[in-house]
Symmetry: C2
Subunit: 211 residues, 2 copies
C-alpha cells in the first residue's frame, strides 16, 4: 500500500504532472507565442482537463515563466565547458558544440526565450539584469585574458559573445527557415555535424585562434 511504485506519493504525482504540463507548454508557447497559446491547447496536448493546469500553475503567466527559466538554466549549465579550458580553441569550441547541441535538442525552449526577449522581456527582465549580466561580465573577462595572453586577436568580447549566441541559436529559432531551404527536410546527423564544424571554423578563424 505504501509501495511508491504502485501508490505514488502526493509529491511524486505533483512532479510528474508538472513535468508533463511543462513539456506541453513549451511546445505550445514556442509554436503560438505567449499571446497565441491557450490553456486549452496545452491541456489537450498534455492530455489533462484545463482545470488541472490551473491547479498546478495558478496562472498562464506562472506556467510561462517556468518554461523560460528552464531553457535559461540549460544554457547556463552548458557554459561550464568554457571555464576550465586552457584557451579559446578549446573553450569557445566546446561552448559552440554545447550551444549547437541544445539548439538541436531544445529548439522550442530557445524559441520561447527568443520570443520573450523580443517582446522586451516582460517576465524575466530581472534575470537579464542579474544572472545574465554577471555571467556576461565574467566571460568577457575570461576572453580578455586570452587576448592578453596572445591566444587570439583583440576582438571586443561582448560582440564575440553576441555572435556566438546569434549563430548557434539561429539553428533553433530559424530552424523552420533552414529546413525549408534544405528542401523541406530537417538537417540530418551529417548536416548537423557540418553546421557545427562550419560555425566553429569560421568563428575560431575570425578571432585568430586558428590559422
Amino acid at each position: 500500500m505504501t509501495d511508491p511504485a504502485r501508490q505514488p506519493r502526493r509529491l511524486e504525482i505533483r512532479q510528474q504532472n508538472e513535468t508533463l504540463i511543462l513539456q506541453a507548454a513549451e511546445k505550445v508557447f514556442a509554436e503560438a507565442g505567449f499571446g497565441g497559446a491557450t490553456m486549452q491547447l496545452i491541456a489537450d496536448l498534455a492530455g489533462l482537463p484545463k482545470a488541472n493546469l490551473h491547479y498546478y500553475f495558478a496562472t498562464k503567466e506562472d506556467l510561462y515563466r517556468r518554461v523560460v527559466q528552464n531553457i535559461f538554466e540549460i544554457w547556463l549549465n552548458a557554459a561550464q565547458s568554457m571555464d576550465d579550458a586552457p584557451g579559446p580553441v578549446e573553450g569557445i569550441g566546446a561552448y559552440i558544440d554545447a550551444k549547437m547541441d541544445i539548439s538541436r535538442r531544445h529548439p522550442n525552449g530557445s524559441k520561447v526565450w527568443a520570443s520573450e526577449v523580443m517582446h522586451g522581456a516582460p517576465v524575466i527582465q530581472d534575470y537579464l539584469e542579474t544572472t545574465l549580466r554577471d555571467w556576461t561580465t565574467d566571460r568577457a573577462a575570461l576572453i580578455q585574458r586570452w587576448i592578453d595572453a596572445g591566444q587570439m586577436r583583440p576582438v571586443n568580447p561582448e560582440h564575440l559573445l553576441y555572435m556566438l549566441w546569434a549563430t548557434t541559436q539561429h539553428y533553433a529559432d530559424f530552424g523552420h527557415q533552414i529546413e525549408t531551404l534544405n528542401g523541406g527536410k530537417p538537417l540530418s546527423d551529417a548536416q548537423w555535424r557540418e553546421a557545427k564544424d562550419q560555425v566553429k571554423s569560421m568563428i575560431l578563424r575570425g578571432i585568430g585562434a586558428l590559422p
Copy 2:
C-alpha cells in the same frame, strides 16, 4: 477644389491611412506578437477608430501579412549591394553594412519576421519556398565563384549566409537584451559603428577574405 493638397483624392487618403496603420501595426505586432496584438491597440496607436482598420484591412491576418512582406522587401533590396562587388571583402562587407543599418532602423520589422518564422511561417511559407529559396541559391553560387577564384576559403555558402543573417539580425531581434547588457542604454552611434566593424572583421577573417 481639385487641388490635391487641400482635397486629397480617395486613392491618396487610402494610401496615407494604410501607411499610418501599417506603421502602428508593425510596432504592436513586434512588441506583443501576432496573438498578443489587438486591433484596438493598433487603432489607438494610429489614432483611428477600430472599425476603420477593418475598412482598410479586412482581417487582422491581412494586416499582419502586409507588415511581414514589408521587411522582406527591404532585405531583398539591401542584398543588391552584394551582387556588383568584385569580391567577398566588398560584397559581404557591404551586405553586412546594409543588414546592420536595417537592424538599427527597422528593428520592429525584423522582430515580426523572426516571430513569423519561429512559429513555422504560417503566413509567408510561400515566400520561403519561392523568393527566398531562389535568392539563396543565387547567392550561394556567387560565393562559390569567389571560392573557386581563390578570393576566400572554401566554406559552405549556406552556413555562411545563415551566419550573416543570424549575426546582423541579432542586433534587432535581441536589441532589448543587448541594451540591458549595455547598462540599460541603447547603443550609441559609436557603439553601432563598433558593432559593424567587429562583425565585418570577424566574419571576413573567418572566411579568409581578410588576413
